[in-house]
Assembly symmetry: C2
């Protein structure tokens, strides 16, 4: 005998198919006593609902909304592309995925988008946005409507989101720090930190982890106060130049956030004299090229394909009320060198 089916449940519970169906799909009109009988039968038989048959019968489509920041950012763009790919590939998986763009620094606009989404019969939402009270409340409202929500890349812990798809940024910062420390030849070198991220929280956490590791394990290194690029190429060039002029003995540069292209260009003139260790985040095309050309030593990153697929899997699992394989959904902090690209 194969896997137990609804018929087997009906038989062993001594009820009709209709009642089994009512219990399975939480429809009203069944006494608690009967519900219990059916549930007993279910787990005595070890019944497992055939999801694909169920989805076939109800012609189900998983409607998910992905909310990502707009604006020029290679990381977000590659993430969008991965999503696109996963969604295309998953047209056979009954996926209906739509991407939304939000201005990352305008909480009001973000809330507007989330409200629209809430009114559009989505079953799940994945959102990458800075943590603000407005956004948090909008997410709470989505949750109240029974919509599954995952935070993407940047966590929104107080929002009641069901899950966070991304890395621990403190640990990512620690990893960068550890590498920076171990790559240093001069134990007393000066480390320049350049910040700027679309999501403040990430930058802060990475910086925290970085500083902690340096303090704990490489106390002789001298981490300079961080510079803010604000995504402005000229500004970056200016402040980098000044930093290297003031500190000719800089032996390491840690780039916390985005805008790596401008930064790398700005550093270029000082590489020959100082040959500082350079470490950054997110394996964008720019960073990939920089690794290949030996313009950078290591990139700490998260796999965007994994991010996209994990978010989809988690949302699906939440919708199906299924438990997920956590080991598969843990986004790893990847260290990429030239050799393991």
């Amino acid at each position: 005998m194969g896997k137990p089916t609804v018929h087997d449940i009906a038989k062993t519970a001594g009820v009709s198919l209709a009642t089994v169906d009512r219990v399975l799909n939480a429809r009203p009109g069944v006494r608690q006593k009967t519900i219990d009988r059916v549930n007993e039968a279910i787990d005595s038989l070890g019944y497992i609902r055939d999801l694909s048959a169920a989805n076939l019968a109800r012609q189900r489509v998983y409607r998910f909304a992905f909310v990502l920041p707009e604006g020029p950012d290679q990381f977000v763009e590659t993430l969008r592309a991965s999503l696109q790919e996963a969604a295309a590939n998953g047209q056979s998986d009954r996926l209906g995925i739509k991407q939304y763009r939000i201005p990352p620094r305008d909480p009001h606009a973000i809330v507007g988008v989330l409200q629209r989404i809430g009114n559009s019969h989505y079953e799940g939402v994945a959102i990458m946005a800075p943590e603000t009270p407005e956004v948090r409340d909008a997410i709470l409202r989505l949750k109240e409507q029974g919509i599954a929500v995952v935070a993407l890349v940047s966590d929104l812990p107080t929002s009641g989101r069901d899950w966070f798809v991304g890395t621990n940024n403190i640990a990512a910062g620690r990893t960068a720090g550890q590498l920076m420390g171990q790559f240093q030849k001069d134990p007393n070198g000066k480390i320049l930190v350049v910040s700027s991220s679309m999501l403040a929280r990430d930058a802060i956490e990475r910086r925290l982890g970085f500083d902690k590791v340096i303090a704990e394990r490489f106390p002789d290194l001298n981490v300079l106060p961080s510079l803010e690029g604000h995504g402005d190429t000229e500004r970056i060039a200016r402040i980098i130049k000044r930093a290297f002029e003031l500190n000719p003995d800089i032996s390491g540069v840690y780039s916390i956030g985005s805008g790596n292209k401008s930064l790398l260009e700005a550093i270029e003139p000082f590489r020959i004299a100082n040959s500082p260790i350079i470490i950054g985040h997110e394996l964008t095309p720019t960073m990939r090229k920089a690794l290949i050309q030996d313009n950078i030593d290591a990139v700490i990153t998260q796999n965007v394909g994994h991010l996209a697929r994990s978010a989809i899997r988690v949302l699906k699992a939440k919708c199906d009320n299924a438990k997920l394989l956590e080991s598969q959904e843990r986004i790893r902090i990847e260290i990429v060198l030239r050799e393991n690209l």
Copy 2:
């Protein structure tokens, strides 16, 4: 109108459902002309077969055999556990997975197991075994029977396997070499290489990559001839001791294969004086512990969960004649430090 179905194909091709079915499932008794008509209709409509409905109809179970070496090896054991997990989780995915154990150094026995598998109506086989002519031929025979075959962890390029699930071991060796080089404080240090692997090919390739990177990028480092542990704890202790006595200035140890536990224990006495950089492969429980306790600097590894799931996905895709998302199946060479465990 929703997604096109077989009915739509029949209509637009001007044939009956039975004929569409014959074409779709490659059953005989259809003229080439008609086949073409149906196929035209299929791609003009952009028809995509609903795999879950199809699998439901035919009560399909994907029967896969996983052939892994027996014997005490933490890496293989964690891989087995991941497989177990994936298989258990995938009972809802119509998976029927069975694991086989082979003595890795007995090609004859391996062939016997593969023959048994060939007679047991499997649809797919994943195999982790050393490359020998006997094994290669046995795999060729499996392929002739129409069974999908993937090589696992260690490639079998001449066997006609459909796919390789694992990392490029040359690149893994290069990565180890790069890290070893960049972690060195003394540019003229001596590097000890300890070999021993269940699969000769892996060890050779890693060694190759390691040596190449050192030669290219850290030419002043002195890589000593490699020592062979052969999985014998006492022997390892002996040869390590001798190596450190002969070369008191060893500043790095690269462990190519398995048997890391014995190796780490053997090195312990020399850590205080030399504090060499230690790099090894495969994130087993032993290695994890060593990282946490700062007994080792880096582990180059591949994610066993990913290996297991990828092998399953690939086999499934091969059975379904579907194309696979290659970016998802590329097993990454992971660098694990204490901080990004």
